[in-house]
């Protein structure tokens, strides 16, 4: 069975979000901004004014830094676009969502169902994962224009806040829903049933390490 495909606005209605199911394929239309540790720190810890009207202009936060350059004439050249792993941003996301009304968090690898239940669901937000990883060239094709880049002087190109206009940008996969379910945890649970057989005959290492788990149903993202 091939997955369901749908197109979504980056300022989606609550109904549109409620209609998404785990594993759906999504293409995005509208403005998307990139924000990762640099932007979060600057906006939330240093209290800098966010240079966009959020969520009116965009409710889509992409955990990404593009392969891009700023030309001498001030125009932009954006090649490939790929997400970075999102679990590291759990520290900032609740406050960021409250402040910006972000409804679509786009990145790599998703968050835990604990995160989804604690602050995604109350904010009416879901997580979209990039595919691959990463389909950088395909996503790059979905960039109609680069509208702006903010804070590149302060944060460097890789951490700057890029604002892009997406036209049928994708594919992305719906990795959480409004009940707080997690696509990756669902898959993990199914795979875990097979692990005992695969590990059969192997032995734990003679020399142990502090702080590690020997339970293969655990995840390393904590």
């Amino acid at each position: 069975m091939s997955p369901r495909e749908t197109t979504l606005s980056t300022t989606p209605t609550p109904e549109a979000i409620a209609g998404l199911r785990l594993g759906d394929i999504v293409y995005l239309d509208g403005l998307i901004y990139t924000a990762r540790e640099g932007v979060y720190k600057r906006a939330l810890e240093d209290k800098a004014n966010i240079p966009m009207e959020l969520p009116a202009q965009s409710a889509a936060n992409f955990h990404c830094s593009p392969a891009a350059r700023i030309n001498p004439d001030g125009s932009f050249e954006m090649g490939a676009v790929t997400a970075t792993a999102s679990f590291r941003f759990a520290k900032w996301l609740p406050e960021w969502m409250a402040k910006t009304g972000a409804r679509l968090i786009i990145g790599k690898g998703g968050m835990s169902s604990k995160d989804y239940k604690r602050y995604f669901v109350p904010n009416g937000a879901v997580y979209l994962t990039t595919v691959g990883y990463g389909t950088g060239a395909l996503l790059g094709r979905g960039v109609e224009t680069v509208e702006a880049v903010h804070w590149n002087e302060e944060l460097g190109l890789a951490q700057a806040m890029w604002v892009i206009r997406a036209r049928r940008m994708g594919p992305f996969i719906v990795a959480s829903d409004l009940d707080g379910n997690c696509l990756f945890e669902r898959e993990n649970a199914e795979i875990a049933q097979n692990l005992e057989r695969v590990y059969e005959g192997t032995r734990p290492a003679v020399l142990k390490r502090y702080g590690e788990t020997d339970d293969r149903s655990d995840e390393v993202i904590g």
Binding site: S2, A80, G132, L138, Q159, I191, A205
Partner: protein, 318 residues
């Protein structure tokens, strides 16, 4: 004498090729995987990746937005001479890295570990890494660039002889399962395993096994080659596919390299060369000829020699 401008311009072309063109051996491996994949989501991911490689080549844009951390492996034939010497070569490679970062463009990934300073050109302290190898004959140099991405999928562990092959298997599985979940390792990948050496050389061996050998290559030691086959099958029997979804393709190939180690130990490292297995190679000749290829051909009999002298071994083989 190989001129510096030729080294720099070739290096810039290699940076471009590595970022944009998926090597044919990896592509063949992934296409074969896509044919066997029956997990719905895993199969969708592989199909999207195959389309992505086409899009990258058509548009001449980087295949992945995380363009990795560019590094260089330089191999010199014993008679090779570089205009201006090796310091001039290193400067040419640093220039090419900076120019290509702005040109392709690549993501300027390289920052200071503490101050997070970004020169926006992938050049800085110790960056790009430049490593060297030598071969007994030839006046050529091979320039190899690898843009390995990813912060996950690589691990090291000090094992001991009593851990045995079963211990090696377990650490291999641990690395695949731990970093395969949610697709953190960007699998299916070329898995490189380093065994022996010292802690640092073990990491180097594993990384080189992943990035400097092609899909389908086998270690010259038939017993190790057999292990490579077995480990590939084992990794693909976990039941995990692309992005950590249910599936059967985790490992496009498994390459193992070894080095002699302390009598009491059995160091092991595991490295994952991701869905964007970026590598590009060129051989430069003193007469100005440049031949491009994607097989680094790093692990020659000379690199794996286990005798004191090389001539003696060459004679023994005759």
């Amino acid at each position: 004498m190989i001129p510096i401008p030729l080294i720099q311009s070739t290096a810039e072309t290699l940076m471009d090729k590595a970022a944009i063109e998926i090597p044919q051996d990896y592509l063949d491996g992934l296409q074969a995987a896509a044919k066997t994949e029956d997990g719905d989501l895993s199969a969708f991911v592989l199909k999207a990746m195959l389309e992505n490689y086409e899009a990258a080549k058509e548009d001449r844009r980087a295949m992945c937005g995380d363009t990795g951390v560019p590094r260089w492996y330089v191999k010199l034939g014993n008679e090779a001479r570089v205009e201006g010497g090796m310091c001039a070569l290193e400067t040419a490679l640093r220039r090419a890295t900076a120019n290509a970062t702005n040109g392709v463009p690549l993501r300027p990934n390289r920052v200071h570990p503490l101050w997070r300073t970004d020169h926006d050109n992938n050049v800085g302290i110790g960056a790009p890494e430049i490593e060297y190898g030598f071969e007994p004959d030839g006046a050529w140099i091979d320039l190899i660039t690898v843009h390995k991405g990813g912060l996950f999928g690589t691990d090291y562990r000090m094992l001991f002889p009593s851990d045995g092959i079963e211990g090696i298997k377990r650490f291999y599985l641990d690395s695949l399962v731990a970093f395969g979940k949610r697709g953190l390792a960007c699998q299916p990948a070329i898995i490189g395993i380093g065994l022996g050496g010292s802690k640092d050389t073990c990491m180097v061996l594993g990384k080189r096994a992943a990035v400097l050998r092609t899909v389908g290559s086998r270690n010259s030691d038939p017993e190790i080659a057999r292990l490579e086959d077995e480990f590939k099958t084992l990794g693909n029997s976990i039941g995990m596919g692309a992005m950590g979804f249910v599936g059967k393709n985790m490992v496009i190939d498994c390459n193992i390299e070894v080095g002699y180690c302390h009598t009491g130990g059995m160091q092991m490292s595991v490295h994952a060369f991701c869905l964007s297995s970026r590598r590009a190679v060129a051989r430069l000749w003193p007469d100005g000829r440049v031949e491009y290829r994607t097989d680094p051909d790093w692990f020659t009999p000379y690199q794996r020699r286990d005798t004191v002298g090389w001539d003696a071994q060459a004679e023994a083989a005759e």
